[in-house]
């Protein structure tokens, strides 16, 4: 009995000592983007009691994968509302997985939007266009939230750049996001190029685009890809660059065709 109380008090005293340590490590985890998920009522309503308990007990990623697979099935059945719902859960459960944000946005902006546009049940074009636009926005929303949760990874910036380029045809925004991706340490070399391409489509920013593309062109043989040469020539025309400063006409022999 006395020993029991003694041991309980040892636990309490060491507990007092460990609490600040655990709080500090916990804070550090947050800073390092670990465990960025909020275990609130909202999540519990979304994933159900069982999933919530499993997620709480260290199997968050597994629950996320499970929901993701359900989303995959829903996609195969083209149940778009369900795909959206399930991807919201997946990304809430595992906000650090680029893949889930990317997939969610892709399903919305590329797949669901096309399905909405071709919806035989909706004869009015204006409404179909509006539905399509709404799916673009849903895709953009996923990517923006994904970026907020993973600011250090270039992939979602790229995806958002592609979304602006291919779906909204908004080259200024596309250029901006490719540029942001390119600025990150892990970015692939083509992000800088893509940003410059997009800029070359923006009316009024031709000079800026030309300078960038030209710099890329001069950085070496590697960058002299067909699209780059084409855009550069287009800008040379637009900006009336003196003939002497223009790039040579023929394609480098060893560049693979796109």
């Amino acid at each position: 009995m006395i020993r029991g109380l003694l041991i309980l008090s040892i636990l309490l005293v060491t507990g007092l000592a460990k609490i600040p340590v655990e709080a500090a490590i916990s804070a550090e985890h947050r800073r390092e983007h670990f465990r960025a998920v909020e275990f609130g009522l909202g999540l519990r309503e979304q994933v159900g009691q069982l999933g919530f308990i499993a997620a709480l007990s260290g199997f968050r990623a597994l629950v996320a994968d499970f929901v993701f697979i359900q989303a995959h099935v829903a996609w195969e059945r083209t149940e778009w509302g369900r795909v959206l719902l399930l991807f919201r859960q997946v990304t809430t459960l595992q906000p650090r997985a680029i893949l889930f944000w990317d997939m969610a946005a892709w399903h919305m902006a590329w797949n669901a939007s096309v399905a909405a546009m071709n919806d035989p049940a909706q004869p009015r074009l204006a409404l179909r266009l509006r539905a399509q636009r709404e799916y673009f926005d849903l895709g953009r929303d996923f990517l923006e939230r994904g970026i907020r949760n993973n600011p250090e990874k270039p992939q979602l910036y790229e995806a958002l750049g592609r979304l602006y380029r291919d779906k909204y045809h908004d080259h200024a925004h596309a250029a901006e996001y490719f540029e942001q991706a390119a600025a990150l340490p892990d970015a692939p070399s083509y992000d800088r190029r893509f940003a410059a391409y997009e800029l070359s489509y923006c009316a009024g920013r031709e000079q800026e685009a030309y300078e960038r593309l030209h710099r890329l062109y001069q950085s070496g043989e590697r960058e002299r890809l067909p699209t780059l040469l084409k855009r550069l020539k287009f800008l040379e025309e637009q900006l009336h660059v003196p003939l002497a400063e223009r790039i040579p006409d023929q394609l480098p022999a060893d560049t693979p065709k796109r």
């Binding site: 709080a23 390092e32 990623a61």
Partner: protein, 295 residues
Amino acid sequence: MSELPHTAFSLRRVGALTSNTLRELTRLRVFYVLLLFALLLIGSSFFLARMTFQQEFQVLKDISLGAINILTSVLAIVATARLLPQEIEDRTIYTILAKPVHRGEYMLGKLAGVLLLLAITTLLMSALFLAVLYVREHTVLAETARQMRAAPPDHLEEALRNVRASAFNLNLLPGIAIIFLKAALLAALTLFVSTFATSNIFAVVVMVFVYFIGHLEGTAREYWQQEHGTGWIASTFLGLVALLFPDLQLFNLVDDVVAGTPILPALFAKTAALGGFYVTLYFLLAWAVFYRREL
């Protein structure tokens, strides 16, 4: 007839107890969990086949590490909980403690045996998992290279880099080490509980509760520290949870590691130190209870 010199601590004695514990545990067919793990890996690869490689790798890693996580935790609790009750029931504990063996040495031997078992199973499961991942990575790399023969070199390079990045990642290793730490913590805590538990089942039930409460400890601690204007009953309850239970969420880093978050060495060191602290604390408490326990 010369009397053996008696020392307070002997590595040979503890070593004998450790290897005996390990041997006893392996006799329990605990290595069936490895078979279970292998089946899971094979089974999951079937439904992973229809996904893209990023999805496949992510789910493969999540499932494998989730399985390693749950299997080591369950093993830690179930294997440790039966050690003392079983030896008392078999009365072999009398033969051992009737020898010039300190009870601390006995407990240390038991704990070390379980930890060794956990280390071996973690290593074997990880090796199996990494082998599967390696094979899949190389298949996907070869496929990607074949499909992208015509692409610009930096695109191909980036694609291959993507494959590599989404497959094996060096950060998985500290992640796995932390899974082991969590299991070690649970084993030490189970040993402590089993020193006063009246039966094997009781210890397991207590540990299941501890497991869930341990995962909520962080939340309780934060509420308690923030003083959310709760009544004193709720506040006392939260405080007790925060003080008495370890924060098990701190050992769940592997989910985010799979998603690509790196574990910095300093953070790993702190987490490992915390795990070591808990293992030591619970071992010492187990010893303190067992030291005067009637057998």
